[in-house]
């Protein structure tokens, strides 16, 4: 799977969908940051088996057996 940086002029369209006004001066850096993060996350995630679940709520109780 590949990633492409979003064109900065299209950020407004996406932001508008969620009623967000992105500061003009931030657009280039936001586009670069989103591209870089998605790429890094995908590189790791694509190595994981599809059944590997997320930890959407980090539950400290899962850690207890390891402490003993």
């Amino acid at each position: 799977m590949t990633s492409k940086a979003i064109q900065t002029e299209r950020l407004d369209d996406i932001a508008m969908m969620v009623d967000l006004s992105v500061k003009e001066a931030n657009k280039v850096r936001i586009a670069a940051l989103l591209f870089s993060i998605r790429k890094g996350v995908l590189q790791k995630a694509s190595c994981l088996p599809p059944e590997n679940p997320p930890v959407l709520i980090f539950d400290p109780r899962r850690q207890i057996p390891e402490a003993q």
């Binding site: 932001a15 931030n26 940051l33 790791k44 997320p54």
Partner: protein, 468 residues
């Protein structure tokens, strides 16, 4: 006056309980020192001088009357401006929360007050804890440098002797990084060990609350007070809290300490590497076995950490980002806007990756007691410096500060930083000790053993505003 500057909580408590010093003596001394020094350091957002004097007088009356609550009774401490303090503006160092005055204490502050601590005031931090430079606070070892962050006010104030201890929060290193940069001790407990109720959230699944102080024994005292379950925080679970000071006997013979062969020693400043390897030799001299370990991390762990932190922070700030966007600082607004635009699949994949890393990490450390690494790859950066090149690549303040700390926020493991040396530029270097889940005892024990045979924690900065 210089004698008090050398005291930690343990020594100050002994002086109070023996009657050689009063809480009011300590409080007046720290208030005077704040007045002289803090115009240069800007560690405090607000000093609660009158309230502190009143509390100190009450503590002295109680102690004279025979009611001594323990080692924190009458000790002046200060609170990171993220923790609610009843009736006091708790701004998170943000214009967004300029007028926020909580009606109740955060659980940690409530416990500290119950233990008899004197609250001196609110400490500055990076806005909403989302960054590492903590402007406008300066590093007491060299005011041309940042105190790191996000708990930079806490780090600077403790190092400068403006309070005996303080509170921090740690989502990607915000307790440990400023502890390292300011030459003090700090511990991020296991996720779930300390309640975050009444503490402004940055990222729910990564946030930790914990103490910062001048010595490891002080950390043990403070952690024993603030740890424990809390019905106000569903993640603060009911697991026994040991007496952490009991473990501090300096004996780590037979301990197996893991030293990573990858990631944690890549691209670090030579002085940092030398100091940390010097500490490893000290541990060996103390009878610990040094075990090389391969850890599962690479640069992508930081991408996943940023994806999680940004997405959760953007959710917390969703309403105010629409109604008060102009009140946020430039850097924080950028991260929140990026968090709003992060794909749900990126966030979920980052959480999947997190579980995979954590599982591999637990396997890698199964047979060891603690991990030893540098806390930061570098000493504190200069004020205004936005990036740094160490080895392979140019990194922002944000990236370089999170690189060695954030993996243990992802894993939720207990991790402390203590001073282990000074670079040729005179700035402190931090040593990171990481333990197994809910085993802060071992982390503190290892840190204390190192502290017992070194003197880095006893050095004090020459402060602007003081003739020292």
């Amino acid at each position: 006056m210089s004698d008090i500057a050398d005291l930690d909580i343990t020594a100050a408590a002994a002086a109070i309980s023996s009657g050689s010093l009063t809480s009011l003596d300590l409080t007046e001394w720290t208030l005077q020192r704040i007045a002289m020094v803090d115009t240069h350091l800007k560690a405090f957002i607000e000093v609660l001088a009158d309230e502190a004097r009143t509390s100190a007088e009450m503590a002295d009356a109680e102690i004279r009357g025979g009611t001594y609550r323990g080692p924190l009774h009458g000790i002046p401490i200060a609170i990171k401006a993220l923790y609610d303090v009843k009736g006091v503006r708790t701004t998170a160092n943000s214009k967004v929360r300029q007028d926020y005055v909580p009606q109740t204490d955060s659980t940690v502050v409530e416990k500290l007050k119950d233990a008899g601590a004197i609250i001196l005031g609110m400490l500055s931090c990076h806005e909403f804890a989302f960054g590492f430079d903590s402007a406008p606070t300066r590093n007491p070892w060299n005011t041309g440098h940042i105190p790191s962050g996000s708990s930079g006010g806490t780090g600077a104030a403790i190092a400068a002797g403006l309070c005996f201890a303080g509170t921090g929060t740690d989502t990607g290193g915000s307790i440990r990084a400023p502890s390292a940069a300011n030459g003090i001790a700090g511990i991020k407990p296991t996720y779930g060990r300390v309640s975050r109720a009444g503490v402004a959230a940055l990222s729910w699944s990564l946030d930790h609350a914990g103490p910062m102080a001048r010595s490891v024994r002080d950390l043990a005292i403070l952690l024993g007070i603030v740890a424990g379950p809390d019905p106000r925080d569903p993640h603060a679970i009911d697991i026994a809290v040991p007496n952490y000071t009991d473990a501090l006997n300096g004996d780590i013979r037979g301990f197996r300490l893991g030293v990573p062969t990858n990631y944690f020693f890549d691209d670090i400043q030579p002085a940092v590497g030398d100091a940390v390897m010097g500490a490893v030799r000290q541990f060996e001299n103390l009878g610990a076995a040094i075990v090389p370990i391969a850890v599962p991390f690479d640069d992508r762990v930081i991408d996943s950490w940023v994806a999680i932190a940004m997405s959760e922070a953007a959710t917390y700030h969703q309403l105010s980002l629409r109604s008060k966007a102009d009140l946020y600082g430039e850097d924080v607004r950028l991260l929140l806007e990026a968090g709003e635009l992060t794909l749900a699949t990126t966030y979920i994949n980052a959480q999947r990756a997190r579980l995979s890393w954590n599982s591999s990490l637990m396997s890698a450390i199964r047979d060891i007691d603690a991990i030893v690494t540098p806390t930061l790859p570098n000493t504190a950066m200069k004020v205004g410096e936005t990036s740094i090149r160490i080895g392979r690549k140019e990194e922002t303040v944000f990236e370089v500060s999170a690189r060695l700390c954030a993996p243990f926020d992802m894993a939720g493991l207990p991790a402390a930083s203590i001073p282990c040396g000074f670079a040729p530029n005179g700035l402190p270097i931090g040593l990171q000790i990481v333990g197994k889940p809910f085993n802060e005892e071992t982390v503190l024990k290892v840190c204390h053993a190192f502290e017992s045979v070194t003197e880095y924690h006893l050095r004090r900065p020459r402060l602007p505003g003081l003739q020292n």
